[in-house]
Amino acid sequence: MVAIDGCGGYVPLYRIERETVAAQHGETATGENAVPFHDEDHVTMASDAAETALSRSSVDRGEIGAVYSASVTDPYAEHGISAPVSFRLGLPGSVRTGDFRGSHRAGTDSLSAAMAFVADRGSAVLMVAVDIVPVHSGSGDEISAGAGAGAVVLRPGDGGDAVISDLGVATTGFVERHRTHASSPVDGDPSFEIEAGVRPATASALDSCETPRSAEAGHAIACAPTPRIGGAVLDELGTELETVSTYDRIGKAGVASFLLDVTMLLEDERATGADRTALAAAYGAGGAAVVSLDLATNQESREGATVSELLDHKQYVTYAKHLEYRRSPATGVTAE
């Protein structure tokens, strides 16, 4: 059995209303996006989320056996996130590291590897997911490009914030939407992707769960490249489930949204004590995965700001500042 014992999120302070971005191009939009400051990048944001998760965990830092990161926007071909984060947090030099890339399934891929490590070694794992979605001024994806980070600590046993009761995977090799480093995505045919890729893969991942889906499942989380694909994923999980999502308030945050949404659910659940199970799914290039979570009933207070608090504590920036803050050689963002 693998438990989530400690979770944390990080959302940048600044926001831009999507209407402000859309108006630059004669369009309209609703919601808002997180805007990382010019001195923030994947390492700093992942470190913040991980620090929060560790501060809330009963696991001592010296007991962490591995650090895994997940991202679809890491600008470096060689640099890594998990190793710098590990050093920043003062973790043992013996920790294994892994940087998962290449798909919005990177979060569930790293979760699967973390669970296997926990089961095999009886040791805890720190998992972080972080993304700063590239902005290309004038392109369609600029309107909803956001940023964020989430982290969880996994350990053997039960209790904690939640128990991971099941993980189902469907690796199909199907690729329609794709993107090269620091460029805009190529969407292909979204309708075709949903019918031939999203629905079959999500359904297959759900069916591959060994534990029958609990009739008490109350919440659903979907990590996907676009809201439309995310909607199809949620459809496959079950339209009766209550959706948990930070998208309206931070925009597309890549794989980070998986752990951010999970963290927000765990934090809010502890506050409200409602519905006890959740399904968290991810669809990306190559397939889908579904995680089943049994949520804890412990109502202890937490250190650090919650995701909801970080969402509320914000300052708006102008379009010019939004481009200026995102012009960073280290993040590989172009904002011409």
Binding site: H38, D39, E40, E309, P329, A330
Partner: protein, 138 residues
């Protein structure tokens, strides 16, 4: 690229490691000096201590004229940072981030934020800046 320089100061830059004079208790951060600047013990014996990621502003300046690529005003503060254990605080200087001039005064409590200080080529060099605690900004 100046790897050795940044590598030497990683404990200070990323773990808030400071150096306490065993003779008089003065705390140096981030410099690891050989002579205590307060008691002039030579050579001085320093003990590594850890600073808390917070402090109190003692004084500050606002830099209004900087090269074009820098956002102005750029705030720079002298901050007293307490230790994790008992002992004198370290008096340090640091940049303020995500902070408006109107949000800072002498006595303002700030927290240390792990940020990219600058880039050496494409590689980020990390350290700490200060800001008001999240939620207490104007």
């Amino acid at each position: 690229m100046n790897g050795p320089r940044y590598h030497r100061t990683r404990p200070q830059d990323q773990h808030l490691v400071a150096f306490e004079c065993r003779s008089c208790g003065w705390v140096s951060f981030p410099e690891h000096v050989q002579i205590c600047k307060r008691c002039a013990e030579t050579p001085a014996a320093f003990e590594e201590v850890i600073l808390q990621p917070r402090g109190v502003v003692q004084t500050f300046v606002a830099q209004e004229y900087l090269p074009e690529e820098f956002e102005v005003p750029q705030l720079l503060a002298i901050v007293d940072m307490p230790q994790e254990a008992e002992g004198e605080p370290a008096r340090v200087y640091g940049l303020l981030t995500e902070t408006e001039l109107a949000d800072v005064d002498i006595g303002t409590e700030v927290v240390a934020r792990f940020r990219r200080m600058f880039t050496d080529g494409d590689r980020g060099v990390y350290g700490f800046k200060f800001s008001r605690p999240r939620g207490e900004e104007r």
